[in-house]
């Protein structure tokens, strides 16, 4: 006892410390003002989608990042949450159950956790590849079965609803998209807060321990299966909330859409891209998911190619996701060494531009030949007219690409060197502090 040096107050959770207040207020402000800045109706749907996808990706990360469980079937809990939510809305709309719309996401959440309790009981008995494969199997089963039960899942058309029912809530009908957006935003904020809080609870910490070394956990008194199971249920709950919000947002839920393996895959992909190691990674992932799914496919027919390329390069060069890139830079900044990189970052961006432009121009021309040849040989690419039948267009694009590549590589080499130096200095600095 004499060794006690720090008072209990040192650990106390102080919800109102300055850093937290700033970060969470910023998050809230972003949620509030975003639709005021991006006003088009597409932007508004995209923002709404981001809102609930943030919840879903974060819930997925409870499994992947915090529990080391690679699930291929997360869409099951999101989707079933959506279905129950939409049925609840329809019942409420018919006056069956008096559930106000604002509570519908909770219904989704309960449904999500219900199914997580049901399926999780078998899936979480195992971990690793076995776990992954069971979730894959259950995902496929649920997705295929859904089409066979049109009574509940509405068949191909899915189930529709009207979110405007009941008495207006303080004059809010939830008809207009921006009211729905704010509903989603409020849920997004609260759920993010709750999930963040979860990381600081005993279960959350033991979950990390299970991820790192399940065997040892058994020898400090915990049943690993139980830990995984509880985490799975919690993840299912938040997934269901996300699903419920999606149902409100679209007013239609559809088995082919919300339960398939591809959906599950994209939660995995983007959680990872955002960065599974850090709590906030999946938030970035969710935002990217919406951009990739909605915007990219509208900007270009070659979206899958770009997507594949970006993805392969990201995994190869930034396996910790975007969050880890940010954290690496923050670390450099903390040691006051970020300044020397601004110039290089600028140069990287500048040299990357021609590479991207050149490559994109070529890709777009190829796609144009294949998909849009009915519209003639010319296409509009960033306000420039390219002609797939002219040598100059191809040559020009290739030239830009090659020159850009050369420059980029030169800058990259320099960057890698300097970055290495900076890391070295930081390591040395850390050692020094440790000694002190």
């Amino acid at each position: 006892m004499s060794t006690m040096t720090t008072s209990p107050a040192y650990y106390r959770f102080k919800p109102w410390n300055l850093g937290r207040i700033i970060i969470w207020s910023l998050f809230a402000i972003v949620l509030i003002v975003a639709p005021m800045i991006f006003k088009s109706s597409l932007a508004l749907t995209m923002l709404s989608q981001m809102g609930y996808l943030i919840i879903i990706c974060l819930s997925y990360n409870i499994l992947l990042g915090q529990g080391g469980m690679l699930s291929f079937g997360h869409a099951v809990y999101v989707g079933l949450g959506s279905f129950i939510a939409i049925h609840a809305m329809n019942l409420a709309g018919k006056g069956g159950w008096p559930i106000p719309l604002v509570l519908i996401p909770i219904v989704g959440g309960l449904a999500g956790s219900f199914f997580a309790i049901l399926f999780g009981y078998v899936t979480t008995k195992k971990s690793g590849t076995t776990f992954a494969m069971i979730t894959l199997g259950i995902g496929e089963l649920v997705a295929s079965m859904a089409l066979m039960f049109p009574g509940f899942f509405g068949g191909e058309g899915g189930v529709t609803t009207d979110r405007v029912y009941g008495k207006p809530f303080f004059g809010i009908t939830f008809g207009p998209q921006n009211q729905v957006y704010y509903l989603i935003a409020v849920y997004c904020f609260i759920c993010t807060g709750l999930m963040y809080a979860f990381t600081g609870t005993p279960l959350g910490r033991i979950l990390n321990a299970v991820r790192d070394n399940p065997e040892r956990v058994e020898f400090i008194g915990y049943n690993t299966q139980r830990v995984r199971y509880f985490a799975f249920i919690i993840a299912g709950f938040f997934a269901g909330i996300g699903g419920g919000l999606a149902a409100i947002n679209f007013e239609i839920v559809n088995a082919a859409d919300s339960l398939n393996a591809f959906r599950s895959g994209s939660y995995l992909l983007f959680t990872f891209l955002g960065g599974a190691v850090f709590f906030f990674g999946p938030i970035i992932g969710a935002v990217l998911l919406v951009f990739a799914a909605v915007l990219l496919s509208e900007l270009t027919k070659a979206w899958q190619l770009y997507f594949g390329l970006v993805f392969v390069f990201m995994v190869m060069f930034a396996p910790g996701g975007i969050a880890s890139l940010i954290m690496m830079n923050l670390r450099v900044a903390k040691f006051g060494k970020l300044n020397r990189f601004w110039g290089l970052y600028g140069a990287l961006v500048l040299t990357a531009i021609p590479v991207v432009i050149g490559a994109a121009a070529i890709i777009e021309m190829i796609y144009h030949i294949q998909l849009n040849s009915a519209l003639g040989p010319t296409l509009d690419f960033m306000r420039v007219t390219l002609d797939t039948s002219s040598f100059m267009s191809w040559f020009g694009a290739a030239l830009i690409l090659l020159v850009g590549l050369g420059l980029l590589e030169a800058v990259r080499r320099r960057f890698v060197r300097l970055w290495g130096h900076a890391q070295e200095e930081i390591e040395a600095e850390i050692k020094r502090r440790e000694m002190a």
């Binding site: 060794t3 040096t5 959770f13 609870t201 005993p202 910490r205 033991i206 058994e218």
Partner: protein, 262 residues
């Protein structure tokens, strides 16, 4: 029933046997360790010492026989159930949570025993008793300076210390240590023995060791396991003098070990 009359032992093994496939590794072990004793288990490589630990701690289920902890049968129970009854063990090959900090590693070890089970409705940072206990532990095992370092980044000796720390964190009163000093230099070993002694005051301790210096420095009693059987269980002096033990295990190295006695 017999327990009622007999004095209950901290650990009691009765006719314990374990086979892997056709090979019988543990061939009928009877052993009773009294509460508060420090017992060292020695024996040739592959004799079954670690296997014995695995059987006691629930990592393996015995083929036949009984394991009793404070008079209660525990064979066939899962490791976490046994742990909850107050038995904790360390591993021959370091077995900690690599991506958690030293502090978190220890706190994980503390949680269950303080009753914070699968709770997700309270913040760790508000669990004063857990934090105090962890803080105490961290100083006990001498890792105070490495509080927030991830376990992977510790040196080997520090990891071994952490391993012990996680083992004793739950406050178990029966502790099993499997070759706790393996791979350490002499200085580190000496330091470590005193650490172990200090943190296991009043507890029942079983260790497996090959380093005779450690064995003789730490143990009140020595059990010699050869080929899955306990061939001797006695005081250090008696064991050292036992010709069968010399034959089977010590060889001429006895002299060496005596020379190295601390």
């Amino acid at each position: 029933m017999s327990n009622v009359q007999n004095k209950t032992h901290a650990i009691e093994l009765k006719g314990l046997r374990k086979s892997f496939g056709k090979t019988e590794i543990i061939r009928g072990v009877d052993l009773a360790v009294e509460a508060g004793d420090r017992v060292a288990i020695i024996g040739p490589n592959g004799a079954g010492k670690s296997t014995l630990f695995n059987l006691i701690s629930g990592r393996l289920a015995p083929t036949s026989g009984e394991v009793l902890l404070n008079g209660k049968r525990i064979d066939g129970m899962r490791p976490f159930e046994i742990n909850r009854l107050g038995l904790s063990r360390s591993f021959q090959i370091t077995n900690i949570f690599p991506k958690l900090s030293v502090f978190e590693n220890l706190r994980c070890g503390v949680l269950w025993s303080l009753g914070y089970r699968y709770t997700f409705l309270r913040f760790l940072s508000n669990l004063d008793d857990a934090n105090e206990r962890t803080e105490e532990l961290i100083h006990q095992v001498g890792l105070g300076k490495k509080r927030d370092v991830l376990a992977v980044n510790l040196t080997y000796a520090e990891q071994r210390a952490l391993e012990i720390g996680v083992t004793i964190a739950g406050g178990a009163d029966v502790i099993l240590l499997d070759e706790p000093t393996a791979g350490m230099s002499k200085t580190e070993t000496q330091h470590f023995i005193s650490l172990i002694k200090q943190v296991t005051v009043g507890k029942t301790l079983l260790t497996v060791e090959h380093d005779m210096g450690v064995v003789f420095g730490l143990a009140d009693k020595i059990a010699v396991v050869v080929y899955g059987e306990v061939i001797a269980f006695d005081t250090p002096a008696a064991v050292r003098a036992n010709p069968r033990v010399q034959e089977a295990y010590l060889g001429s190295a006895v002299a060496d070990a005596q020379g190295a006695g601390h």
